[in-house]
Symmetry: C2
Subunit: 332 residues, 2 copies
């Protein structure tokens, strides 16, 4: 028997269609085991090849070693949006609305080591990465015309990456997407009615219900959402009300690094090191202090394919039940 579930943050429906009782390895695809070297001669992100990227906009070192970088941030070579263009709106064929592709698109090279994945880093390195995200958020959010910022990581070819060397991306956009506006509307209406933040309430409900909870600590709640769109979709949500990732504090930064590492480790062990996307959902710049919005990190292993039904209806068919997958994660 399948079930329709409504996503409380978008009002969209999801079909939870467990085909049969699945164990985690039913989701694990046959993957080629590859051994990746520590350094690749022609990788533009490996040390020694810094000339192959545009000049860095920021760089992070260890206190004790200023000669070698640990994290390096550079403009994307093939940017989706660039500051060297207009923000002016225009009408194509006098009918269709368009704008110059103004914005920022940066690449965060997470480590000098070609084969060092996020869960393989020291905790202090992972915390430095979260700090780098927040620093770039702060710099870019102050730029004129920037309305929305997205930090994300595509790990592996099926997750959309073309370069092996561990990296994340940050895009600062001159428009708020219709998708983000809808989430603001839904959460705004909820707050008008209840005077509460929908996401704070969801955190509380997930802690109380326990069935979809992966873990919690003083700073974060980790759970598989009720209307998960994808198998093993995981949310990491701060317990403190905060609309914007830009407002994260130092304790949270170092804890977030650890929590991310831990959850990717669990996924790796259950799903045989899947490709994944990691997305930082955060309020649009103008709503950074809204009492109805709440930032969170979403991790999505790429063990699904969106097909015609999803493209046409907007309704996802999820072949896993979040209560089952959360239990698997708790048991790792």
């Amino acid at each position: 028997m399948t079930e329709l579930r409504q996503d409380p943050t978008t009002n969209e429906w999801v079909i939870i269609a467990r085909e049969r009782a699945k164990r985690p390895y039913d989701f694990a695809k046959d993957r080629e085991v590859r051994t990746t070297p520590d350094h690749v001669e022609d990788c533009p992100f490996c040390p020694g090849n810094e000339r192959l990227t545009p000049p860095e906009v920021a760089v992070y070192h260890q206190e004790s070693d200023r000669a070698h970088w640990i994290i390096r941030i550079v403009p994307n070579m093939f940017p989706a949006l660039t500051p060297h263009t207009t923000t002016k709106e225009k009408f194509v064929d006098s009918r269709f609305k368009a704008k110059g592709g103004f914005g920022f698109h940066e690449v965060i090279i997470e480590t000098p080591r070609h084969n060092q994945t996020l869960p393989g880093m020291d905790a202090s390195h992972a915390a430095m990465l979260m700090q780098a995200y927040r620093d770039r958020y702060e710099v870019l959010s102050r730029e004129a015309h920037v309305k929305m910022i997205l930090i994300f990581k595509n790990h592996g070819v099926t997750a959309g990456t073309s370069l092996d060397h561990p990296h994340s991306q940050i895009i600062a956009s001159p428009v708020v997407s219709a998708h983000a506006k809808r989430k603001s509307e839904v959460a705004g209406r909820y707050c008008e009615k209840t005077s509460r933040c929908l996401y704070c309430d969801i955190n509380r409900w997930e802690i109380e219900s326990e069935s979809r909870l992966v873990s919690e600590n003083d700073q974060f709640v980790i759970f598989h959402p009720f209307a998960s769109h994808y198998p093993f979709e995981t949310w990491i949500s701060p317990k403190k009300h905060q609309a914007s990732f830009g407002n994260i504090d130092l304790t949270e930064i170092s804890e977030l690094g650890k929590v991310l590492q831990e959850n990717i480790r669990k996924m790796n062990s259950l799903l045989a090191e899947p490709d994944y996307n990691c997305v930082f959902h955060t309020a649009p710049i103008e709503e950074e202090n809204a009492k109805y919005l709440h930032w969170y990190v979403q991790i999505v292993p790429r063990i699904w394919t969106a097909a015609g039904f999803e493209m046409g209806s907007g309704i996802y068919i999820n072949t896993a039940v979040p209560e089952d997958t959360a239990k698997f994660m708790r048991e790792v």
Copy 2:
């Protein structure tokens, strides 16, 4: 230079980010050339194996040969939605809204021949397939509690299919998706303001502008939409105003089959036989006769990967310019 374009049907933005002037073969992936046999012993959709599927709900023959089926329609073995369940709404943990997975999920086996693709069929066979789609639309749209119908085809593994034998699917859902509601709102507002159908206007604009036009005939306009979300995304839109695919007439049915075949043939020749999705967008049942909605078919070759940015923002990055890709299609 990249450009932001607003999709007039959803108000969502798309980033058109041509990385460099691309020729169609830059999009064609290295694909294994496979020769598929005409008949596969254990394929549940091949003739002789009818017992491997649930009993058929409809079957189509040639006039001259009633002994052999040409098209066979069966309930999906692993349905996303099924009629054998409740439509009742419930609240999980007293908070989250859910419903039983009521609905219909059928598979249209398009041909008895395991290796006969849509463009390889006779025109009369393709017309029969369109007729079968419409017949099922009519039957399912009359069922109690059905609110929305989606007909779609996933061709190839990366497009989400698990069975090689050519087939399409039809899902009848007890909810109108939030996505469909938004499209109704956007088109409804446009109609209030102008007294015209947005989609009829888009058809006219695309014919006038010519730059994104692939072709047109008496019944249909074929174009690459201004805010294409995906490279080579193709729309086939009826010239006559019609909110619902259920209202298609006999001339249009036979023409639609030909137009679909022709456009998949063009894509195959330009993109080396890509996997693709084909989606029939049609008005929710309650809006079947709306003057602001309009059905259309969308064909999307799977030569892209949605990654973290798309998942987080709802904004797609399209690495092809629809004006360029439409020109390639015109020149085939």
